[in-house]
Symmetry: C2
Subunit: 176 residues, 2 copies
DNA sequence: GTCTATAGCTAGATAGAC
DNA sequence: GTCTATCTAGCTATAGAC
């Protein structure tokens, strides 16, 4: 059988994620992916119908990957926050897809551990949602500022993470 | 005198800012700007040497605009935070340029009011810097999530802003 | 499944007429 | 200051040979 497979769906997706982290969404082109996978551009159409399908697949994977990390992490405020920031730092490509609006299918699921934990700590569902939003905003903003080098006033920016979490969920102190 | 001016530096910059807010940085092309300004692409090179110069000008303007808003706002935690979020909401184009790393020239200046206020409230320079970072991360993350529609669990997302600020700077309660 | 060839589009930028 | 014409380059996508 001629035409031996030089690449694969997995290979393409991993390569696309690297490209996404290095050059942003506009940098994820079939031509560049193909080059890195050792094939020519048009070959990728045997694996994905078009670029949009590839991007959508990356989004689905990103939510699944984050969900896995959060599920496997210590179920404490610090534990979940650390897992979230690690994911953002180690997987900048997938992470950048998490907050891009789009279809509201599985997004909710990935964050569930945070909501469950806060409900346990606070004993109030509505308050838990509000705090979860404060934490999500804080961590998301921190992850982006950290990555873009926006903390320009010296000292140790990372120190503000633990401080911020303690301020936002004082009820968890000592329990973590 | 032939060749009457159909557009201007200001017109181009405003148009570029609109485009930036609507289509992102990659959407800011000389061709699109020209179309909206009623001229042809090459005409823009009479106003800016190249695309990079235009983008840089947009960055400088963005920091200046934010600085003006923060200086003119009530110098309280709520006042400055509201001004920041208003700027982000009303000027999505310029706002998107604020956290893109790049040259560390004037960025520091725009944020000064926040630092000054927190030093007054906390009486501790180092603690003020840490809290400022927590607030900046929180507001930046909130602004982006709000804009991208990332708050998908119902209720009123905006409610978490006041709650978050009170948690992060409890010392300011009653003073605002 | 890979390839070459190609079509169609958009972008940045320059040259030179008016 | 604006225009047309042009160049280079990169992208998406399709057709058809192997």
């Amino acid at each position: 059988m001629p035409a031996v497979a030089k690449t694969s769906r997995q290979d393409i997706l991993r390569t696309a994620e690297d490209l996404l982290g290095q050059r942003g969404e506009e940098g994820v082109t079939f031509l560049q992916i193909a080059k890195r996978c050792g094939v020519k551009g048009p070959s990728l159409y045997k694996h994905f119908p078009d670029r949009e399908a590839l991007i959508h697949e990356l989004e689905v994977r990103a939510f699944a990957q984050l969900g896995n990390q959060l599920s496997a992490a210590p179920q404490s405020v610090i534990g979940l926050a650390s897992a979230f920031l690690s994911f953002a730092s180690l997987n900048p490509g997938p992470y950048s897809l998490l907050f891009k609006s789009g279809d509201p299918s599985l997004p909710t699921e990935a964050i569930r551990p945070v909501l469950v934990l806060l409900e346990n700590i606070l004993g109030n569902r509505e308050e838990a949602l509000t705090r979860a939003r404060v934490i999500a905003s804080f961590l998301h903003g921190y992850a982006l500022m950290e990555r873009s080098g926006a903390f320009r006033l010296g000292g140790d920016p990372a120190a503000c993470v633990a401080v911020g979490l303690k301020l936002i969920v004082p009820e968890a102190s000592g329990t973590n």
